[in-house]
Symmetry: C2
Subunit: 433 residues, 2 copies
């Protein structure tokens, strides 16, 4: 149930006639004063699985391996070597990556680390298709879809790569803009994509968008799509959405080297002990491994074996993800319920209702996002950084925030959402008055 205060605020917000502005503001202030007295301290800033979700992978912690650490190909998982990772785990993830197992690398516990290394090597050495390192390209630039994932943008910033923004539409990025930019400018070297249940909008790329990305003309011969398929099998709705294979599309259009696909077990099993993957053309994979070999003697293969034994099969992975879904769905519904009741009739506020993934994108009255964050922090709730979904952390409209409801328990989440809703109402009223 929604707190009566919020209902009051909500009812007042419905009426936007000038004559009630003062009364509305008083009601909001009353709710605000009350939450200040509640001594709340909640941090729901990042998309972190809850302890109940982690418990689903409990058998992974205790999985006895002494019986078989020798993989089918004879590799001793315990020893050095096998830079590409164990075949058993690469084969298991091949259906989710849409790339043959022998073109997949399983390495480390962080797919972000694999993306970072890829960019690092591209900047230093260039990628197949060009001899020019991206560091030698004047104004080498990535297309960043907004709102998007802050850690992607941080990698560009770290490597001094420019960022040009393109808006996210309902079925993926604005492809008219993407195609125009890519066709015209040879310094456009890459694009960051979270193609399924996108962070933070929940968008699933349509077949048409994927086809366009794979086939479009690019002025740069060494243009790369960084396909961060972090939520490849992470539905919130009953039916998982299908995503067309970008690798197949790229091959079909004669651009097999265009895409680099990333995924991990982080939000399937344990974020603190996952296995990360990169899949691409044989040319790209060989290039990647050549540089990886200078960096290390090989990945943690015992963990790969452990994960493969626990996850067993694609069917078993889907069954595990259904258990995650059962835990996550009520939390996402709670956001929608509380926000709908409190702010549903507020024309200045909207939010996404994602079919999967970990985030809700909240769109507020321009000029209020950072004030909402500030107010929530005063009331003890850290839930977002304004601008974090934009390159350089700058949302010029100051109008978007990310909600990550996965981690807290229901009652904590309810409390946090109530605070956030009151802060939205307060900041909106302040701005409109």
């Amino acid at each position: 149930m929604v707190h009566p205060d919020l209902m009051k605020v909500s009812n007042l917000l419905v009426n936007s006639a000038d004559k009630v502005l003062l009364a509305r503001n008083e009601a909001i202030d009353e709710a605000w004063q009350q939450i200040l007295q509640d001594n709340i301290s909640i941090n729901i800033e990042r998309g972190i699985p809850s302890p109940a979700q982690l418990a689903l992978s409990q058998p992974l912690l205790d999985a006895p391996l002494s019986g078989g650490y020798i993989d089918v190909d004879g590799t001793d998982s315990r020893n050095y070597g096998q830079q590409q990772g164990l075949p058993i785990i690469r084969e298991l993830f091949s259906p989710f990556m849409g790339v043959p197992a022998d073109q997949i690398v399983a390495h480390g516990s962080s797919s972000l680390g694999l993306m970072y290394d890829t960019v690092s090597w591209a900047v230093r050495h260039g990628v197949p298709g060009s001899d020019t390192p991206w560091s030698k390209v004047k104004d080498a630039t990535f297309i960043c879809i907004i709102p998007g994932y802050d850690r992607h943008f941080a990698i560009c910033e770290e490597f001094g790569l420019n960022m040009i923004v393109v808006p996210m539409l309902d079925d993926g990025p604005d492809m008219v803009a993407v195609e125009n930019i890519c066709r015209q400018y040879p310094n456009i070297k890459g694009i960051w994509c979270v193609p399924k249940y996108s962070n933070p909008t929940g968008t699933v790329y349509s077949d048409k968008v994927i086809e366009a990305l794979a086939s479009m003309e690019t002025a740069a011969p060494d243009f790369r799509i960084f396909w961060d398929n972090a939520y490849c099998v992470h539905p919130l709705a009953e039916n998982d959405r299908e995503l067309a294979s970008i690798y197949d599309a790229c091959v079909r259009h004669g651009n097999p080297d265009r895409v680099l696909i990333y995924s991990s077990t982080s939000k399937m099993t344990l974020p603190g002990a996952g296995v990360a993957f990169m899949g691409a053309s044989a040319t790209n994979t060989a290039w990647w491994l050549r540089h990886a070999t200078v960096r290390s003697v090989g990945p943690d293969k015992v963990n790969q074996l452990r994960q493969a034994r626990f996850l067993k099969s694609p069917e078993n992975i889907r069954a595990l993800m259904e258990q995650h879904r059962q835990l996550l769905k009520p939390k996402f519904e709670l956001v929608n319920t509380i926000f709908s009741e409190v702010l549903g009739c507020q024309q200045h506020v909207s939010w996404t209702r994602p079919e999967g993934g970990y985030f809700i994108s909240l769109h507020v009255l321009p000029g209020t996002a950072s004030r909402i964050v500030q107010l929530a922090a005063e009331a003890g709730v850290r839930f977002a950084r304004s601008g974090s979904c934009y390159p350089y952390g700058r949302d010029i409209n100051d109008a978007q925030l990310r909600i990550a409801p996965s981690w807290p328990e229901t009652e904590q989440l309810r409390l946090a959402l109530r605070v956030i809703a009151i802060c939205i109402a307060k900041a909106t009223a302040e701005k409109l008055l």
Copy 2:
């Protein structure tokens, strides 16, 4: 027992009078022809622990963790975060690193990866003490002690860093040369050191050398010692050698930021599933973590917990390393025995008798090392790449090779060593004739 053929070769080699050269050559050729018929296929190229050594850590594979994945500080090892690694494993390794636990980073499974990342960030951003990235320094150069570790040199090559060589003496690098170079040239930015049971010479740095490294004048304010203490507790002799704390010495001489210390559990537990460490001043560690945070959300902490539970205490680690020693020692003795018997009186051949570590450095008649490798390969034994212990893989004297006896079983090792010895004899005779 040494094969009679070898004894014959050995006896002949003793006599270097011209008149027996022909007879000697014939005896060697006879031994050579025979090994060609043996259809041998052995690869002992790299320093890899044997299956018997890996079995010492068998309980690590099966260690049940379900009882406690929450660290003493409340960190849930299973989830994201804790970029610096778990306190429990950092505290355990603090005595071996010679750095307080809160200045240690535990991250990933490869200390080489941590070194690589450090160089990468220094090249791109510079290190504390200077605002100039090493990539902007004309002819940024590392001192490479020869013979040394090929993977260190490969990192320099990858990042376009120049390498200047300094010979290894009995108690560490030639410090007169190191001090002269560092004092004069501000483009000298680093030195690679394996200070204990050095790869490949087995050298242990003396207190005097460590004191000199810590106190010497450097023209570069941002000079860094990369202290790869890979064999920090890996003796072959009964008593482990003591190594002075370079960090303490650097602090004492007012150069706390000079040294970056690396280690790992790779050759304690499982090379394919280890935990790697970097320890340094608080300033350096904070700098490192700032860049690491762009690369990943955090390390595999479950494996850190697993390793900490298995390794328990410094005393327990020493006891485990004693078991490794018992398995390794006979293999190193076998090299010495066979080489002594066959080649002991050969004035052109010498080899190290290390008190620890994983390697023996073999010094042969100049101009014969690559021929020896080639002959051994023809006879089915891959044991070294000539020049691999030198920058760019170039040993201008063609006179040094690395022996790694850890991996094969005794009989395989005996066979391989016999082949190598015959090849040394043959190449030496070819050259002298």
